[in-house]
């Protein structure tokens, strides 16, 4: 089905025409006129001043466009999906012969009409300032490309999240987080963290870079970074596409596994950061400081994302349960595919790779191995908890994780034994990235040994839990009973 004939897009356009379209265009038109009120001064100014004024207006117009397109677009998409899901219209559309792709395209692009129309006056104001100020038009063009790419990416994520969350509050919270991601670097200034919000970071920080470059450098210098950002957004969109299709269209042909989406997204994000940090010309211009800091950040962010990923995605035991019922029993192969342990090992391998690029050599092996042990421990405990406790597993996991993180430093402080602080799972890696290897061996070996023991013990308990659980599932499937809840 062509996009122009997509009924969801057509209905959304009808609604936007009779909704806030005119008001939104009038407001953005007034903002555009205000920016261009000094256009006579812009024309009469000396060459240097004119360029500076042109860049200033272009920067303002791009920032306003970013708010309208990225935030407005994501919010429109999320609201439409959430409202239609709650009212039952999403299901009514699913029951028509529209393909899953038609459905996703409709909900993704349909609600963008108002925001696109509202951004046009701002884009025109930016173009006028660009031309009159003698700013290279390429700066305006790549700014528009980056904005459109970011808006499309943010809206796809909004559709994915809104379709997956069960309540209005959750949808609103997720859109709020997206907004925070977009505004973070602008609000917080050039801080390290802003670099990790790559999908939305370019909207502000890269705009600033483009317009800065337009003053003193050839615009072509900005082009590779814009293309990398757009490419990474496109790659993340491709990764998220099946998940969004499954969420919007309940597409039964997609056997979607959320855990691997988290791994892939993590790889792209961290990989992108490493790429930009290593080969870009702006290592110290924005936020990439010395190599040790970068390695530490990669380590901490990787660890955080991994734990969040494991906790959010959870092992796919429910899928095993359903398949067991269909086939009359669970196989070891299914359990291996559903387990989070391969995901944990994947995270560990990726993190080691990322550290190998940015980190000091002596710490890489130690950090990578310790991170992998921490992920194996986390995955085993999560999965064991889910098999034993069902829906209470996440709460129990959080309590256990807090204890493991908080208790060792307290014990170290009370007993005045520094090595105890490194009993916190994953902490050896951070230590190893900063300190000489002799220091690591002196202070970290006890903690490392504890981590090995914990990971091995957790894996052993996990194996026993799997054996018990599969036995119960198989017995229930054989007897035609409702299967034990995972």
């Amino acid at each position: 089905m062509q996009l122009a004939a997509n009924p969801i897009v057509l209905s959304a356009m009808r609604l936007s025409r009779r909704g806030h379209l005119v008001a939104a265009v009038i407001v953005s038109g007034i903002a555009a006129l205000l920016m261009l009120m000094n256009v006579d001064e812009l024309i009469d100014a000396a060459a240097d001043t004119r360029l500076f004024m042109g860049v200033s207006i272009l920067s303002m117009s791009l920032s306003l466009q970013a708010i309208v397109l990225v935030l407005g677009g994501a919010i429109s998409t999320a609201r439409t999906v959430q409202q239609e899901r709650d009212s039952g219209l999403l299901e009514a559309n699913r029951l028509t012969p529209m393909t899953p792709t038609d459905l996703l395209l409709g909900y993704w692009l349909g609600p963008q009409g108002t925001t696109v129309a509202a951004s046009v006056p701002l884009a025109v104001a930016g173009l006028v300032a660009t031309v009159l100020g003698g700013v290279p038009v390429a700066a305006w063009l790549i700014g528009q490309a980056l904005l459109v790419s970011t808006a499309l990416f943010a809206s796809l994520l909004a559709a994915l999240f809104a379709a997956n969350t069960k309540t209005k509050r959750a949808s609103g919270g997720i859109v709020g987080l997206l907004g925070l991601g977009a505004l973070w670097s602008s609000a917080m200034g050039p801080v390290l963290v802003s670099n990790y919000l790559l999908p939305t970071w370019p909207v502000f920080s890269m705009m600033e870079r483009i317009t800065d470059d337009a003053v003193g450098n050839p615009v072509a210098e900005s082009m590779p970074w814009v293309l990398i950002a757009i490419g990474l957004q496109a790659l993340l969109s491709v990764i998220a596409w099946p998940a969004a299709r499954r969420a919007i269209a309940a597409d039964p042909t997609v056997r979607f596994d959320a855990r691997w989406l988290v791994v892939a997204a993590w790889a792209v994000l961290i990989g992108g950061q490493v790429l930009i940090g290593e080969v870009g010309p702006h290592e110290t211009h924005r936020s990439w400081l010395d190599p040790e800091d970068r390695a530490m950040l990669v380590y901490v962010m990787g660890g955080m994302l991994s734990l969040v990923g494991l906790a959010v995605a959870r092992p796919a035991l429910e899928d095993v349960r359903r398949r067991a019922l269909r086939a009359g029993g669970v196989t070891t192969q299914w359990m291996a595919a559903a387990s989070s342990l391969p995901v944990a090992l994947g995270f560990g391998a990726l993190l080691t790779l990322a550290l190998a690029v940015v980190g000091p050599e002596h710490g890489v092996a130690m950090a990578g191995i310790d991170a992998t042990l921490a992920f194996v421990l986390a995955a085993s405990l999560l999965e064991l908890g889910q098999m034993r406790l069902g829906s209470r597993a996440i709460g129990a996991f959080v309590v256990a994780a807090v204890l493991l993180v908080v208790a060792p430093p307290i014990a170290a402080a009370i007993l005045d034994i520094e090595a105890l602080a490194l009993v916190v799972p994953g902490s050896i890696g951070g230590f190893a990235l900063f300190e000489p290897i002799d220091e690591v061996l002196d202070h970290g070996m006890f903690g490392f040994a504890v981590h090995v023991v914990l990971a091995v013990a957790a894996a052993a308990f996990w194996a026993r839990g799997v054996r018990d659980w599969t036995g119960r599932v198989n017995a229930a499937a054989r007897d035609g009973q409702s299967l034990p809840t995972a």
Partner: protein
């Protein structure tokens, strides 16, 4: 199997699991063209889950659903175009007009002669005067009729109606009943659920009773009444000018628990449809001038009660 004998709806061994609960268990039923089947049962029996699983909105744990011989995974487009589902909560887009709402779904179903078809279904459900009114201005009953119009857009071979009369006023209920009768007579198969059995008794020739996700009874209404009815409560009213029925009733072997007033009597009767016919003939033959002769409960109510289906606690 020839085209004529392919069931419009063929459900085989359907099972739907929710965590810890078997919502539908090993359900098998088939509907032919022109069948109108009442899907009934107590609260929590699995009626809505069954309907949603048939439509593909709930993924079955196992089992197969074929509509017009096609499974959803074989040809999703044909499967969905053959199916019209009317949920009980009337989902409409409040800001679109009636015509725009139907145009949306006519496009989604790729309906030929879209504008004409939209006008046709608007007229069919009696919403012509409201065709340019925004959906938020419609009453609940009108919204139900609008959803029915949407359901009819692709000319589906199978209609699945979940509580179609909820929110309708008495006039609209009569109109809906007549419309469903027309659709049934056109050869469409209809699967309909309702808690008000008298509403659907008028047009259902088949009945499926669910209890705790299991199909307890399935078959032709007439056949089930003939085979399964052990005792039916009947009411007889007569004109004073004729003979009194007491003698005939008390002398009849199938009659018990007689409760008589001045001009009417209620009694339990065991003996099936043929026995009832014979008793009526005996009464008339004895000079009783019968003014009213009817079962105290509808056929579907009778079958449901005799099935012993119980609510899920």
């Amino acid at each position: 199997m020839t085209a004529a004998t392919v069931p419009v709806l063929d459900v085989e061994g359907l099972r739907v699991d929710y965590p810890g609960v078997v919502a539908v268990d090993n359900l098998t039923l088939a509907l032919r063209p022109g069948d109108a089947c009442a899907l009934i049962g107590p609260n929590g029996a699995g009626k809505t889950t069954t309907m949603r699983a048939i439509c593909g909105l709930n993924e079955p744990t196992r089992g197969a659903v074929r509509i017009d011989g096609v499974r959803l995974d074989e040809d999703p487009g044909r499967f969905r175009a053959s199916l019209g589902f009317m949920p009980d909560d009337a989902p409409v887009n409040p800001k679109l007009t009636v015509r725009e709402f139907l145009d949306h779904f006519a496009r989604a179903y790729n309906v030929a002669n879209r504008d004409a078809k939209v006008e046709e279904v608007i007229a069919q459900v009696g919403l012509l005067e409201k065709s340019d009114v925004a959906c938020q201005g419609l009453s609940r009953g009108m919204k139900q009729r609008l959803i029915l119009a949407k359901t009819l857009l692709p000319d589906p071979k199978l209609l699945i109606l979940d509580e179609p009369a909820s929110g309708l006023d008495p006039i609209s209920r009569i109109a809906l009943r007549d419309l469903i009768l027309t659709l049934r007579d056109q050869g469409r198969a209809i699967l309909v659920s309702s808690h008000i059995l008298s509403e659907i008794a008028a047009f259902c020739n088949r009945v499926a009773i669910l209890e705790r996700g299991r199909l307890k009874v399935f078959g032709d209404v007439d056949a089930l009444l003939r085979e399964g009815t052990k005792t039916r409560r009947m009411r007889l009213r007569w004109r004073a000018a004729g003979a009194h029925p007491r003698g005939v009733l008390e002398g009849h072997a199938g009659v018990s628990a007689v409760d008589a007033d001045a001009d009417r009597v209620e009694f339990d009767f065991a003996g099936g449809e043929d026995g009832l016919d014979a008793l009526l003939a005996a009464l008339v033959g004895a000079g009783v001038r019968v003014a009213e002769w009817r079962p105290m409960r509808d056929d579907l109510e009778e079958i449901l009660l005799q099935s012993g289906a119980r609510e899920v606690q």
